[in-house]
């Protein structure tokens, strides 16, 4: 059979088309395209069926495991036109995660160990290191080491690659916030909270980190190593209560860190990270509910809380989620403030 490969503008990507065996899979097609074009390795290719005129449904993506013949129209098994899109240079997800987490892991201890504050105008300020600052550094480094180890040994990714541009965007986010928080927690004029407060903060944070790790183990077991990376209903532990228990534990883990270290920088990071993860959780919740609608023998995805305090079964507007976010941040702040007042 012959596959004609065209770009969105109608130009033929591979002149003359590609001849394939009838038994060829999409994966074979991708490898042939790579061989013919040299530049477009398989993870860079996005292959879809051309949209039928007048039909505005989402385009059908060619799954690498499927046979090419499956996408042919009935009665026309000799020819297939496939739409090609270049996704741009790709990196492995593990590469992306490694670099974005490496930054905070390295940058934070720099502020703890090196005399950097003289460059910020504090050359003459004496620095006594409070115990909480040392534990904060251990906690932070433990967190990002855990993330790197999980990247290589625990996570099973639904997509193998991510666009290269995400490396710059994500590293900017993690590295900038890492430096921003590290600057304040290790500052020579840092004011620690009471001992009981930081002990509770770190203990709670550690508990959440362990829970988070367990959530990742559960998610891993949902995907077989050779699997198609599809979705299953997460069950067990906190997944019986919340859709994305991994995000919930991650958010509360940062809350623990902030209760212990008490910086505006840390809380700003908490709010931003929470809003990002809430967005992801909403998407995941929607996807799971759509996939597991209870019809045609598929199990029905049960009602679940979204992240920590909104019910995932009714659609939330942006404003409502923002209010929830503010509510939780405010309650976090007020818990901490009241503690600082009562416990001198």
């Amino acid at each position: 059979m012959k596959v004609t490969l065209v770009s969105r503008s109608g130009r033929e990507v591979v002149k003359g088309g590609i001849e394939l065996e009838d038994s060829a899979t999409v994966k074979d097609l991708q490898e042939t395209i790579h061989a013919r074009t040299k530049k477009y390795y398989p993870s860079r290719q996005r292959l879809t069926l051309p949209a039928k005129p007048g039909v505005s449904a989402r385009p059908v993506v060619l799954n690498p495991k499927s046979k090419v013949l499956d996408f042919c129209e009935k009665g026309n098994s000799d020819n297939l036109t496939v739409l090609f899109k270049d996704l741009g240079p790709q990196v492995l997800y593990s590469t992306l995660f490694f670099f974005e987490y490496l930054g905070p892991l390295v940058i934070y201890p720099l502020f703890y160990y090196l005399p950097l504050y003289k460059y910020f105008g504090y050359a003459n300020t004496e620095r006594t290191i409070h115990p909480v600052q040392t534990y904060a550094m251990y906690y932070w480094c433990l967190h990002y080491s855990k993330r790197i180890l999980e990247t290589f040994f625990v996570h099973r990714f639904s997509h193998a690659t991510s666009p290269l541009s995400n490396v710059f965007r994500n590293c900017l986010y993690y590295w900038t916030f890492g430096a921003y928080i590290a600057y304040y927690v290790n500052h020579p004029l840092y004011t620690p909270v009471s001992e009981i407060q930081w002990k509770i903060g770190f203990a709670f944070g550690l508990l959440c980190q362990v829970s988070n790790f367990y959530c990742h183990i559960i998610l891993r077991s949902l995907r077989s190593p050779s699997g198609n990376g599809g979705y299953q209903i997460p069950k067990g532990f906190l997944f019986n209560i919340v859709t994305c228990a991994n995000y919930t534990t991650e958010i509360y883990q940062w809350l623990g860190f902030n209760i212990a270290t008490q910086t505006v920088a840390g809380y700003v990071f908490l709010v931003v990270a929470t809003s990002i993860m809430t967005n992801w959780a909403m998407g995941k919740n929607r996807r799971l509910r759509k996939l597991f609608d209870g019809k045609e023998g598929r199990p029905k995805y049960p009602r679940r809380w979204l992240v920590y305090c909104c019910d995932g079964s009714w659609p939330l507007s942006d404003v409502q989620c923002l209010l929830n976010l503010c509510g939780c941040s405010v309650s976090g702040f007020s818990i901490v403030s009241s503690m600082s007042v009562q416990i001198p």
Binding site: Y184, V185, H187, L189, Y190, T191, T261, Q262, T263, V264, A265, S340
Partner: protein, 221 residues
């Protein structure tokens, strides 16, 4: 019910746009008058009140975008209004030493010309339901010159204000404190200058795209 709401919306937007238009018209007239009579150093004192009023009123436009009253994306209006408010209040109002600089004249004229065209354009659309094609052309063409002159004036004024910002310690919040927080206005201003680097091409290309869309519609009509 829906009919009443859209009429009220139109009346409100018409009043809003024409009101702010008249504010900017005042700014331009006073500025030219001052330039003729006294020279660039006197421009600020003559335009201060209408400038502050007209520019600050633009905050309403962010709200209009958020609640869906107008179609403009918040991502385009927020940086523009943010930089305008920063220069108006954070630089010119807070640091009088900058007021006599010649860049104030170029700033005020660039801003007022752009805004006069823009607000009358929207004002006519809301009040009369259409805009004359020459106004549409002006709205989507004058930015080609006025954006660069305006942005250069803004960046220039922030830059010359820097030494005064550093010396004055104004708006700074220092450590140590219970929340382990600090704010340094001098570094923040440098940060704002940094935002202009990706921000200006973003705004300019956004307007170029809008121009293409608008003028091609004109041709088709």
């Amino acid at each position: 019910m829906a009919g009443i709401f859209s009429t009220v919306k139109r009346i409100y937007l018409a009043i809003y746009n024409w009101a702010v238009f008249s504010g900017w018209l005042q700014v331009l007239i006073f500025a030219i008058k001052a330039l003729n009579e006294s020279g660039p150093a006197a421009v600020y004192d003559n335009v201060e009140k209408p400038l502050q009023l007209a520019q600050t009123a633009a905050i309403l436009e962010i709200i209009h975008g958020l609640i869906g009253l107008v179609r403009s994306p918040v991502s385009a209006t927020l940086p523009q209004i943010g930089s305008r408010l920063f220069v108006t209040w954070g630089i010119l109002y807070s640091f009088p030493e900058t007021r006599t600089h010649v860049l104030v004249s170029s700033l005020v004229i660039s801003w007022s010309l752009t805004e006069i065209i823009r607000y009358s354009f929207f004002g006519m659309k809301e009040a009369l339901g259409f805009t004359p094609s020459w106004l549409l052309w002006l709205r989507y063409s004058t930015f080609l010159l006025l954006y660069p002159t305006g942005i250069t004036s803004e960046v220039g004024l922030i830059y010359i204000a820097l030494p005064y910002i550093k010396a004055s310690e104004k708006y700074c919040f220092r450590m140590p404190n219970k929340w382990n927080f600090s704010f340094d206005y001098y570094f923040a201003s440098i940060g704002v200058l940094g935002i202009y680097v990706p921000g200006s091409p973003h705004m300019y290309t956004y307007m170029l795209g809008q121009r293409k869309k608008a003028l091609s519609k004109l041709k088709a009509a």
